[in-house]
Symmetry: D2
Subunit: 355 residues, 4 copies
């Protein structure tokens, strides 16, 4: 059954494989009248692009966006917006050699089990390359959110043992790991280079923050804002966990420590602390939305691993394609995009609820 559509009122349908001809997305539900250019989208794609620094894969994809429909005189018309990039630098040769082997940590085995057939070139549809469509759609979502003074950003909080200690909003996009702590960022880069040298990889934690979100977003009891954010982030490749506000730390807190007391500030009701991460009962409370996701260390590592082939026979494998030694830096724009898609969808849903 199809699973490539996301969102209810702001809905995206993505297509494309790592080494197929194109990657793209149809955005349905964008209101009419939004000024939109290819540049608006390109700048987000450039942030997720391969080959942007020494800590990312060396595959060089220009990722030039083409808006194929839905615009007239520079504005959205309320009809579907189709966005597409052509794949240019796919190199499938390395994959021919291992097409009968199951790469540990990858979706080769599970795709075979599901579909009985698989595009093994670069992981096919299971590749993170698929997120081009998400990030492109997310750029439109961010532009709409900006109209409502909602701003979404993300950053790398942790890579391996290195955890950001300081938060400087302006620092994030200045370093290649997208960490808000300049000093720790340098340690992260060093750790990644070290791991790569050892034919290994690192995991990390990304934090997403949304500011300016009005209270009231989220549709209990199932389509809660936190539930939809959890699904959105967990649907990204390599993500193994999602938490909101204090998250897993909540297990060790007492109610008297965890509750955020209500206060009035600038004539607005808000909370004195933000352990809730901006969400109560599945609905935004006006405070910053704070969500974190963990990405596992890249499964493709340049060292010999045990595995089996499609017939179950023991084999050795060494994955030689071009890979990020740590996906966290490029996962930052992906996480932002997914959070933005959820927020615009829920903003539209909430505005509707109040009619």
């Amino acid at each position: 059954m199809p699973g490539n559509t996301f969102g209810q009122l702001f809905r995206i349908s993505t297509w494309g494989e790592s080494h197929g001809e194109t990657i793209g997305v149809v955005v349905d539900g964008c209101p009419a009248g939004l000024p939109l250019t290819e540049k608006d989208i390109q700048k987000e794609l450039d942030r997720r692009r391969t080959g942007q620094s020494k800590v990312t894969t060396t595959r060089k994809e220009p990722d030039r966006i083409r808006i194929m429909s839905g615009l007239f005189k520079g504005k959205t018309t309320g009809t579907p917006i189709a966005l597409m990039v052509e794949n240019r630098d796919a190199d499938s040769s390395k994959y021919e050699l291992i097409k009968h082997l199951y790469r540990p940590g990858h979706a080769d085995f599970t795709y075979d089990m599901k579909f009985g057939f698989r595009d093994y070139r670069g992981g096919g549809r299971s590749s993170a390359r698929e997120t081009v469509g998400r990030v492109a759609a997310g750029a439109i979502a961010k532009k709409l959110l900006a109209r409502h003074k909602i701003r979404v950003f993300a950053f790398t909080r942790q890579i391996g043992e290195h955890v950001a200690q300081k938060f400087n909003r302006n620092e994030i996009e200045k370093n290649i790991v997208r960490c808000p702590d300049k000093k720790v960022a340098a340690q992260m880069v060093e750790a990644i280079m070290q791991a790569r040298k050892q034919g290994d990889s690192l995991g990390g934690v990304i934090e997403v923050v949304a500011q300016g979100v009005p209270p009231g977003l989220g549709e209990p009891v199932f389509d809660r804002l936190d539930a939809d954010l959890a699904k959105a982030l967990m649907s990204l490749p390599a993500v193994k966990g999602v938490e909101v506000g204090v998250g897993f730390e909540a297990a060790r807190l007492k109610g008297s420590e965890c509750n955020d007391v209500f206060i009035t500030q600038n004539k607005t009701i808000t909370t004195a602390t933000n352990n809730a991460g901006g969400i109560l009962g599945g609905i935004s409370n006006g405070n910053d939305i704070v969500v974190r996701m963990v990405v596992k260390p890249t499964s493709s590592i340049n060292r010999e691993q045990d595995t089996v082939n499609q017939k179950g026979k023991k084999a050795k494998i060494r994955v030689e394609g071009r890979h990020d030694p740590c996906v966290a830096p490029r996962a930052v724009p992906m996480a932002e995009a997914m959070a933005a898609l959820v927020l615009i969808d829920h903003l539209l849903r909430h505005q509707q609820s109040q009619l």
Copy 2:
């Protein structure tokens, strides 16, 4: 916009409030021919029932299930199954006193912001009482899964500082906190009673395990099995985080440590370790599905807290209703139900994909 329906092929729509007349659910998509009795459902409701032990609220709801449609001669007919319980022991008097105040940690404020109007008796729809419908539907899901030899169970892994050190499957339902480690269970009970005495509450971690899940379940790229499990669990009251397999620990692992190598066992391809928690690329790999969720300490605490009233004026509040001092024990059947609902939905979706 409506948000009270969950699932695609096995779909539930719930209704009801804490102090309303009834709580219920319509289950649509259950295949015809499944033998089903009220007893099948009652036994699960009894596990989530209030007043079942000294660590739960003293509200006494019999929660007698009534099957209102969809059965003929003791079997499901493929048409909607409506399930209902009458609310019997609602005591709204305590809520009249605090109806203009916002209870910290609760959804009072956000429901007011969303709907401009709120059933303040017992939290209305935001109450965990709403999960009666989920658990009832989950009982049907579990029965269907059992036909496919899939078994779902959950347990309390952690409460406050106390973490289960041993795993004894048979121990879980023998103690009132549903912990698989008898010794730690006793400590947990002690900790909860202590917290209650102090007018405070505790958080915890629930782990859900699904055994016998065939490889192939999950619909990339958005409706991944892990993404849908994350949404399902995060949609439960008080949940602030969800993780799969190694979860947040993945941030500290290297690829060579985190990857599960493929092996052949009993002529079946599986993995030597299960860091992935049974899911690769969003699709089950045949290994046990392992998911955890964290519940925050109960927001209702029997001590004075600061807050504001609906007009934003400072106030003091003491929440005097009947509450669980720790929601973990009763969250166990809720987590099981949600996981079962996701699994049966994806089992049906996967079988459909292969046609």
Copy 3:
């Protein structure tokens, strides 16, 4: 796969069988703050009730509505509204005799083919009794529409050879066939009584009109207003066709005859004629919405017919249950309900589109 839910933003999920315990519906997406009483719903149920006149079945169901959730202090809260009636006068004895035979024109055979199993008492879920839930939900839809000054009504245009020649809005509910032409109404009654006497039945045409619908409702290209109305009406039992405006007559018209020219009236742009039935390009144009549906003659007739049993063996059947000799009169409130459900859904969808 489930098919018992209708609507996107105003969404209903129905349950129940002809001779089961209860019939009901969950309404999700009704905005908060609407005053609602059981009386509002009862009056519509009374219009579709069995036994209301000599041209309807003699089954006597009081159809007492119970609102089971979603109200507080007499107003909707924005949470699901569950509505239910208990079945009281089911008589299954007649059905035991023919349980292995397929009644011509009925869904016995197709339900067996679909589910491999069937509740044969009164047609089970395929009975028009299922529409109790629709009409109950439609009553809420109508009340919401009235707030926006939108009024939906329907009437019997044709029964057998008798076609209404005059239109008197006030006459409709005054006669038992719900025909706006008093004289023709009498002929219709006579024709129905005649058919019943002969152990036969009659078909008819129902027309639905919606007044006050603002321009802009409908979501091309698939969820057009006319497309959703067509689905809604065609989903009613016994309906074999739906048309909008001039409908099938359009095949014989020329463009110059069929086009409605635009004019300005009371400073509002409208059309001089209404061949379009108020819908252009799938979107309402502000003129009256006019839709018609045809109902086939009741399949249950009190005379011997040829058929086969479940094993395919030839048999004779005489259907002796209690049946309407013509479904048109009671189909009037059903058609109104479905049209109202589509209109409120699209009103909410359109308001959302404009944000």
Copy 4:
């Protein structure tokens, strides 16, 4: 709210405007392993292409299909299939002159009302050019149906006063109006040419037949097979009515005439007549599915008509673009495509229901 997605298990999302850059569709839910080439799709697009005969518009669009994703080694992979054609022969000059006027019978006014903004070139998204995506997706649906020995075809039954009297399956694609009666086809062509000469247009009726449909397709109570077919066909441009089997004629029939009695033929239960059009209780009964739709006469006519401009001021308009004088011939492949999309969706849904 978005309305450009159709189908549940076989789901399509279309994009594109008459004079935009591209037209396309994403098909999600096509099972893996289906051999598919661009030729399979091209042949259907060629049937709906403009400029194919003297009774169609003179706009010359090659409509070269490009498969942009979802294939590997000539087979579908179970992932989304994106299909696209580039618009080549759009001529927007004629539309600049009338951009402030509302063309009678067109969606100009309603799109302005809905979106407050409109791509006026060639009708933008409201143009029948949008159906390229539907027909392309329908080609895949037809190929899948053929695997199950289900064949869908359509033909022109009526144009103006001319109604086919004979049915020769092989004749349909041999004449330019796609009528199964050679003699009447010639009269239809003559009538169309005559209408065009007079600056006028004609309406017509298309009949769709599906053979080999197994019993059991359709999901009561809302997603009935007939209800979904009605929505699908009514969502095509210019359609004003849909009927199944005897359709509107049912109003004049008696139950004893309309009921199809069950018989056994070749050891299979079927019906002696097919007044039901192959659908009972919303579920296919194994007989041929027979559905008809009426298309209104083309709204664009080459003669002066009254209208108003966007400010409501009276004006005269003459629509000079290139148009079909009767849409029926090209609506035949469109109707086939929509019926095929519904049938494959319901085939998958039914197979799922039986698991």
